[in-house]
């Protein structure tokens, strides 16, 4: 009995994310060792780097992060697996569903399909930047009030896409909303709530500007 209880408490101390992270470190450690030789060889060719890890600098939410990553690592994986910035979700991983949406120089992109090495020199903005001292952004607040999410996996991507959309279209029509958010999918089908949320956020943001 005592042995069993101990096991249980150990398992409890390890979160699912810690476990996945631990497994990831082991794998990338192995690749690191073999990749190093190839990097040294490749350096002889003009401007060719990799396939082993190369220094990559990313500017995320205004903060500079220096990493050592293989060129094949996507921007999404760099954030989630190497920087523990996990707000952006990995769902289809094929530039289709939009759950990984981040802003690159203020424009929404599928981070699952941008290589981290391509993102160097660009400003990356993620969902983490939208809350200030625990205060929700107008789009987040509107999502919450309008029941614009169910399982929540698509939500961070939708919120980023909506934030960029409203920046460009402060007075959107329903048709513009449907067109402008066509790059994000919600398998729970909360689209009606999302449309309401975008309209309400548009109003709230205008109010804020007028008052501010």
């Amino acid at each position: 009995m005592r042995k069993k209880r101990k096991l249980k408490s150990e398992a409890g101390a390890l979160t699912r994310r810690d476990f996945l992270k631990g497994a990831g470190v082991t794998v990338s450690g192995g690749l690191l060792a073999t990749g190093a030789v190839t990097t040294a060889q490749a350096a002889a060719q003009e401007g060719v780097v990799g396939p082993g890890p190369v220094p990559i600098t990313l500017r995320i939410n205004g903060r500079v992060h220096r990493l050592s990553l293989e060129p094949r690592i996507t921007l999404l994986d760099a954030l989630r697996d190497h920087l523990n910035i996990t707000g952006s979700k990995k769902v289809c991983d094929r530039a289709t569903c939009g759950a990984c949406t981040m802003l690159m120089d203020k424009k929404p992109v599928y981070a699952c399909t941008v290589l981290a090495i391509e993102a160097e020199g660009h400003d990356i903005t993620t969902i983490e930047s939208l809350t200030e001292n625990g205060r929700l952004s107008p789009v987040m607040e509107a999502f919450w009030k309008n029941d614009a999410q169910q399982c929540g996996f698509c939500t961070p991507g939708f919120v980023m896409a909506c934030t960029a959309f409203l920046e460009k279209n402060p007075n959107p029509t329903l048709e513009q909303i449907e067109k402008g958010l066509g790059g994000n999918l919600c398998r729970c089908g909360t689209y009606a709530g999302i449309r309401r949320a975008v309209l309400e956020a548009a109003k709230a943001m205008k109010g804020g500007q007028a008052n501010g």
Binding site: V49, T74, M104, T113, E118, G183
Partner: protein, 328 residues
Amino acid sequence: MQAFEYASPRSLQEAIRLLPAQWGPTDVLAGGTDLVSAMKDGISTPQRLVNIKQIAELHRMTFSPRAGLHIGATVTLRELLDDGAVQQHYPGLIQAAEAARSEQLLNMGTVGGELLQRPRCWYYRNGYGLLALRDGKSLVPEGENQYHAILGNAGPAYFVSPSFLAPILIALGATVQLHGPRGARSLPVQKLFVTPTRVGQREHDLAPNEILTEIRVPYRPGVRTAVYEIREKEALDWPLAMAAVALRQEGGVLRDPRVVLGQVAPVPWPSPEAERTLTGKKPSEDLADAAGRAAVAQATPLSKNGYKVQLARIAVKRAILSAVQQGG
């Protein structure tokens, strides 16, 4: 995804030097919206990726009435849509580019990459190759062919050309510039697309060490254009059928009509039959309908895609009616 070397040259010459003379070991990376997914699926397995987005001369867009519109290969679809000259003089291009439907894809995807994206055929995407072969025989004719070709499908290629910009570019008489180790060449957009007849042949007339650098669209004042597409869902997807039309009206009759279908054949599919139906005639709904029928008269649908014949016919008819109503 298999590990690869990476280079991001600043000059076109440098980029070309990094490309080998055969397909496979190296891929050119532009927007990556097609390539990166294909790499994750093991459909493309390059040992080297050459990013061309830092080459300044590939990212220019210029317009003048004399030279027309020159679009650098890495101009994004969003940059094309937001360009004042394109909005004013090329409404058909705007209509076609909007078909991407996803703001993320518009921001990432490039005009050159849109033309060079690989087919969506699910046999191809699942590792059976462009000709969908198993034991030397195509899986398509007796397989899941509901999205495959209805024209130009005598085999062995049955996939459909996925580009939604190509039909209108062809209707407008556009050309592409290709640069390789031996210099530059120019091709009409139609000639960029080929129907492969043997294993290993690609669907583009592009050498492995060539880079598509620019798309040139002539300026033709007075030409009316329209694109009409039919799709299963409103969000991000490829159309089931589309038609692009460019024509002039002179003295109440149609002149120099160009009708090009998309998503119906292994290449963008011009319809001389529809064009002959329209030439010199007064525009009307009946005439547009007759042109639509002419465009699909030679169609040879497969076991599950007969419905696409009807969609293609309607796309041609509505594109013509829309072009006629659109004005200059």
